[in-house]
Symmetry: C2
Subunit: 150 residues, 2 copies
């Protein structure tokens, strides 16, 4: 799935690759900025029709800020020899109609805190970016050009 | 290490618990805000004298923004039945003296992108927060008071 150009440690992901990674992930981090101050919250999310949906308790700071301004959601996966990171920038809005809520309920979302939660927030992406990283030896270790290492 | 009050899904971590988790982690996400716009970058970091140090390529956006404003660093760990998340708010500055650089070099930091990097940035915390989450059944599933479930 991740075909790097030879010797390129970073692969810029396309939209399909980004959505495929987001669909296979449930944990992410939501970044909000209110009055110039950033906050970050761990969340569980689900993908629905190329939007992201998460669930939060009513009245929490998260519920308030998530709908206040543009948000970022980051998800990543880290293995010993490779990693990926995907960032979604988008507009958040709280789901309110019964059709929207029924649709969100069907996702079976759970949140990090097992308290009763009846707010759902949907993030509609305005910008997607993703990178796949192939870890390798540092160039400091390869002083000779063309060296393939051990 | 994480003693929750009975039935409390969230444990607020103290400073020692937070540093212990940060010391046992190397991957995190750096959040910067420049002109009201947030960005988030996956990074590797190390703890040194209750500060956080990371390495980045000179001339990158990350190198520029990391020293421009207050930053956040988030790290988390997620298991099937529990999770933790730690957030450090702090001031970032690029290391410049040879003593500072020698000290940072000794950490053996590697970054996600294996290119030559000679910038080190240190985050001095101004605010620490951390939570440990114990996942459990949702209250919706426990309609009878005192039910212990299965």
């Amino acid at each position: 799935m991740f075909e790097h150009q030879e010797d390129e440690p970073i692969l810029v992901l396309d939209e399909d690759q980004i959505w495929s990674l987001l669909e296979g992930t449930q944990h992410g981090r939501l970044v909000t900025v209110v009055n110039g101050r950033a906050d970050i919250f761990p969340i569980n999310f689900a993908v629905q029709d190329r939007t992201l949906v998460f669930r939060t308790a009513p009245g929490t700071k998260l519920a308030e800020v998530a709908v206040a301004e543009q948000v970022l959601l980051e998800a990543d996966g880290i293995l010993s020899d490779q990693a990926w990171s995907v960032i979604v920038r988008g507009d958040a809005h709280r789901l309110e109609t019964s059709a929207e809520l029924a649709s969100a309920e069907s996702l079976g979302l759970v949140s990090w805190v097992p308290t009763y939660k009846d707010n759902y927030v949907r993030i509609t992406p305005t910008e997607l970016s993703g990178r796949h990283f192939r870890f390798g030896p540092y160039p400091e270790r390869e002083l000779g050009e063309g060296s393939e290492g051990g």
